[in-house]
């Protein structure tokens, strides 16, 4: 029986040189098969938290467990084994600008050992259909709009059928219709695969339509952690203000 806690942060603290701490003792658990929404005002440490989970950044204090394995002190080679099970969408999309769209989406698959050209092409085409950009294989990222880049980023993050997927702003720069469509598709795929997902988004209203649980970061601390219903009904004035988008309040 695999552990129920897929992602577990224990007292994670992170600060950068010459700056205030970005995260201050964050404890957070994401159970298996959960779609976890991470929200909070700008510069609250959401993106940093995602990068810590995959070991792209190292915490200054605390421990980080993926499926029960402590990855805090692992070297780059061992971390690769962990990362191979994780898909990630970066805030800036991070498309390789010297590769075509198709090569970008195929890259994680190739690195995971898929060499069959037909299988690669099939998977790439499938991902492009998922983000409503069929036939974009041979375009270069530089020629795409911001929203298109975002969707290609989503396609690449989900190319490997990973057990764990982290999305940093999957709907930024998209129109409301496409945005809702992406959220719904990602939710459907997550349900079908039983994957564990952490999603950071500023589009709180749409995000909360698909999440199971919600956490709110504020000034480097996790000030709320609970189910979506609990978040919507929270009495904490900061959470209340944030999830309902009110202009006056403590924030």
């Amino acid at each position: 029986m695999p552990p129920r806690r897929v992602i577990e942060l224990r007292g994670i603290t992170k600060r950068f040189v010459d700056g205030p701490p970005v995260l201050r003792g964050v404890d957070l658990t994401v159970p298996r098969g959960c779609l976890y929404g991470l929200v909070g005002p700008g510069a609250a440490g959401k993106s940093v938290l995602l990068k810590l989970v995959v070991g792209l950044l190292r915490p200054d204090a605390g421990a980080l467990l993926i499926e029960g394995e402590d990855i805090t002190g692992l070297d780059e080679l061992r971390l690769h084994r962990v990362r191979a099970r994780i898909g990630m969408l970066f805030q800036n999309n991070a498309l390789f600008d010297h590769m075509t769209v198709g090569e970008n989406i195929a890259f994680p698959l190739r690195r995971a050992g898929v060499t069959d050209a037909a299988a690669l092409a099939e998977r790439v085409a499938d991902r492009l259909r998922m983000v409503s950009l069929p036939g974009f294989e041979d375009r270069m990222p530089a020629g795409l709009s911001g929203g298109q880049k975002k969707r290609i980023g989503v396609a690449r993050a989900t190319a490997l059928k990973a057990d764990i997927v982290l999305y940093d702003e999957p709907a930024a720069g998209l129109d409301p219709v496409t945005s809702q469509k992406i959220f719904d598709t990602l939710r459907a795929e997550q349900r079908e695969a039983g994957a564990t997902v952490v999603m950071v988004s500023s589009d709180i209203e749409r995000l909360l339509t698909i999440t199971d649980r919600v956490g709110m970061l504020h000034r480097g601390r996790l000030i709320f952690d609970g189910t979506t219903a609990e978040a919507l009904a929270s009495r904490d004035p900061r959470v209340d203000q944030f999830v309902h988008g009110k202009t006056d309040g403590p924030l």
Partner: protein
């Protein structure tokens, strides 16, 4: 220092104002901090160097990647080197001709001495200072902008060591191309110097073209410098690029650092190799 948060996130009151609070600091604290940063930076550089050598020996590369970089390095530098090295050849012969005339009346050894100096030191060092500027800045800018747009993180997510993927092709290309370009630059400087010697000091070409002073020591030292500089520039610049933080300003800082630190690496290596060479090959 650039702010650590991702560039797209606007600053927020959530920072608690820690950033604005000025920290009282004395000279000792400043020096200490500089020392700590120096040690940390040196360890980072050493790490990149080690991984570059490791992956150069072990890694496999897609076809044409190294060739593409080699073309890039050559294409960027040929015109620049022609102009700067042509002028430096003329200046050096003019200056040393003036100098020599004060001590010895005849300038028959001008060409031979200049050739020795070029082979031993100047061809490699001056051309590499130029390459540090041109090629080093380019490498740091390319890698740095991949860092700040998270492409390097994305590579790491796919189990790729960014040093293997980004630095090693440039390293291999640079080791070869630096040698070639130094040879070219040296030839330019030598012939520009010859023209000056002829025009200003009336030294005939047959007198100028004289390789009698060259010996195995000069050639060994010159070759050692070619290899050392060719290896150092991409490693130092790659390290600067990989350490880029923040947005486009971060890339700008990384680029300047690459120019300064690769030039410095050339100067330091020059002193070390020249010193060792001087001891190993007594005249």
């Amino acid at each position: 220092m650039a702010p650590p948060v991702a560039p797209a996130t606007p600053p927020d009151d959530a920072l608690d104002g820690d950033a604005e609070r000025p920290r009282p600091r004395g000279l000792a604290a400043d020096t200490g901090q500089l020392l700590i940063e120096g040690v940390r930076a040196f360890r980072g550089l050493f790490d990149v160097a080690l991984r570059t050598v490791y992956w150069s020996l072990k890694g496999r590369r897609e076809k044409g990647v190294v060739l593409e970089q080699a073309f890039e390095i050559g294409n960027k530098s040929v015109f620049f080197l022609t102009v700067t090295q042509g002028f430096i050849g003329m200046i050096l012969v003019f200056q040393s001709g003036l100098q020599a005339r004060r001590v010895v009346p005849d300038l028959t050894m001008l060409g031979a001495t200049f050739l020795e100096l070029l082979v031993r030191d100047l061809a490699a060092t001056l051309a590499s200072m130029m390459l540090a500027t041109r090629v080093g800045a380019g490498i740091a800018a390319e890698i740095g902008s991949m860092v700040v747009t998270e492409q390097v993180d994305a590579l790491r997510m796919c189990g790729v060591d960014p040093v293997d993927w980004l630095v090693v092709p440039r390293f291999l290309a640079s080791v070869v191309m630096t040698g070639v370009l130094i040879f070219y630059a040296g030839a330019i400087a030598y012939f520009a110097g010859g023209a000056t010697a002829w025009a200003v000091f009336d030294v005939q070409p047959q007198t100028y073209l004289n390789a009698r002073l060259l010996d195995i020591g000069d050639v060994s030292i010159g070759l050692a410098k070619c290899v050392a500089y060719g290896a150092a520039i991409p490693i130092v610049s790659g390290w600067c690029g990989l350490s880029a933080r923040g947005g486009s300003e971060g890339v700008g800082i990384a680029t300047t650092q690459a120019v300064v630190f690769s030039s410095l690496a050339v100067i330091i290596l020059n002193l070390v190799i020249s010193g060792v060479g001087f001891v190993l090959f007594p005249v």
